[in-house]
């Protein structure tokens, strides 16, 4: 297999005997961006969690690089650490001024010393984006990264994502409900569709 190639070969995944994912198999090349779409509750987040190595309880095999970043569907910040430290703690190698630049790029400069609970939800989501972008990951996984943002901010984030992907060339997989977003960022779109034995990749 090509170096850095990401391969997903899931036979099945179920919760308490209820199948959620059926046989799913795909590859992502380094530098390639894939969108994942599908109705609410079909299993997109489940697939992402398996891919990221968070959920080891499935049948099948996944091959992924070590250095990966993830934007969770909810911000998942450390509520007891300041905005700045929420960047620095997962990235101890990051210089504070680089962290500040990153915060400015997602539009939450000047909030370094606040706690996440003092941010609006949109601001928290952007902080979580900044956290994923703050290093140069080999792989980027994002679960609906641009929701809860006004059109203008969403456009800024989209551009930022484009810039960072072209800078670091990570293999990227992201979930979205917005087909224009998928068109703009992704070279391929994976669609999950329901079958009795769990979700599989559709046409």
């Amino acid at each position: 297999m090509a170096d850095g190639m990401i391969s997903v070969d899931i036979t099945s995944k179920s919760f308490d005997g209820m199948p959620v994912l059926g046989p799913i198999s795909f590859r992502i090349a380094p530098g390639e961006t894939l969108a994942l779409v599908g109705p609410s509750g079909i299993g997109k987040s489940t697939l992402l969690r398996i891919l990221a190595g968070i959920d080891p309880e499935f049948e099948g095999r996944v091959q992924r690089p070590g250095a990966l970043s993830m934007v969770f569907q909810e911000p998942t910040l450390l509520p007891w650490r300041s905005v700045l430290h929420n960047l620095l703690i997962p990235h101890p190698e990051l210089r504070p001024d680089a962290a500040r630049t990153m915060l400015a790029r997602v539009g939450i400069d000047g909030k370094e010393t606040l706690f996440p609970g003092q941010l609006s939800l949109g601001q928290q989501r952007r902080l979580s984006l900044a956290r994923a972008f703050a290093c140069a990951p080999k792989m980027l996984i994002m679960d609906e990264p641009f929701v809860s943002l006004d059109p203008e901010t969403a456009e800024t984030m989209l551009r930022l994502t484009e810039a960072l992907i072209s800078e670091h060339h990570p293999a990227t997989l992201f979930v979205t409900h917005d087909l224009r977003e998928a068109d703009r960022l992704a070279s391929r779109v994976l669609t999950l569709k329901s079958t009795p034995s769990g979700a599989v990749l559709g046409p």
């Binding site: 190595g53 970043s69 007891w80 703690i89 997962p90 990235h91 609970g117």
Partner: protein, 249 residues
């Protein structure tokens, strides 16, 4: 702000008032002396140096036992809370040690190790570790799996994870274990001291209890309580306020 600083003082004053009333109703200085009847005794014990010697001895024991019990108990509680398998193994031991009478542990320690300082501190520590572990275990069970996943994805080091992800979630449990911990430890130290030490507040309290000298018992009890109130106001509460800032902000 000024008013809120005054509250503890007023609160203590009201407690003092209650005491005076109770002493008045009891009307027997041998059962419950008034606060001012204690003052000369306090001054006398302080001047003779006895108070400081015994208080010092007790504090050293409390400090040692506290440090040991908190660290061992936290580690044990964390492990048991996070691993169901380990918990199944260790849980019966925990219940047994939790409910073993202090007296039994203390006597066994004294007989095995000898009537020494080390035996005393070991006995107190063994008595308290299960209590701490039981509290911390509940905290470890309530840890947020989403944050765990985040820490895993970003490959945080073990130490970073403990310090920034696990500990802040355990903080209320640690605070609870620590506060009720000091209190329980000091109560066990009292027993340890009267069973086999020749110094300490517990030794003095028991001595004066045998002489039925309630006033002196109270002098020594309040000397320790005074230390605890000071620790509470100068160390614990400011530290807690700092670590709780994110909640109230």
């Amino acid at each position: 702000m000024a008013a809120s600083r005054l509250t503890p003082v007023l609160s203590l004053a009201s407690m003092l008032a209650l005491w005076v009333v109770a002493a008045g109703l009891t009307n027997d200085a041998q059962i419950l002396p008034t606060p001012w009847q204690l003052l000369p005794l306090f001054a006398q014990e302080f001047a003779s140096g006895d108070l400081l010697t015994h208080l010092g001895a007790t504090l050293v024991r409390v400090l040692w036992a506290f440090t040991l019990a908190m660290s061992l108990g936290t580690v044990l509680g964390l492990i048991m809370g996070r691993s169901t398998a380990t918990n199944r193994w260790l849980d019966p031991w925990l219940v047994i040690f939790l409910n073993l009478p202090a007296l039994v542990l203390i006597v066994l320690c004294y007989l095995w190790i000898g009537l020494t300082e080390a035996a005393a501190i070991t006995a107190v520590t063994l008595n308290k570790v299960p209590n701490v572990a039981v509290v911390i275990r509940e905290g470890a069970r309530a840890l947020d799996p989403d944050l765990d996943a985040m820490a895993k994805v970003y490959r945080m080091s073990w130490w970073t994870r403990q310090r920034h992800v696990v500990f802040p979630q355990l903080a209320p449990f640690v605070a609870a274990a620590a506060r009720s911990g000091v209190a329980v430890i000091w109560k066990i130290v009292l027993v340890v001291e009267f069973l086999g030490r020749s110094s300490g507040v517990g030794f003095q309290i028991h001595l004066h209890f045998q002489l039925f000298d309630v006033a002196m018992v109270l002098v020594y009890a309040f000397a320790f309580i005074g230390v605890m109130l000071t620790v509470e106001w100068l160390l614990l509460q400011p530290a807690e306020r700092r670590s709780r800032r994110w909640r109230t902000a």
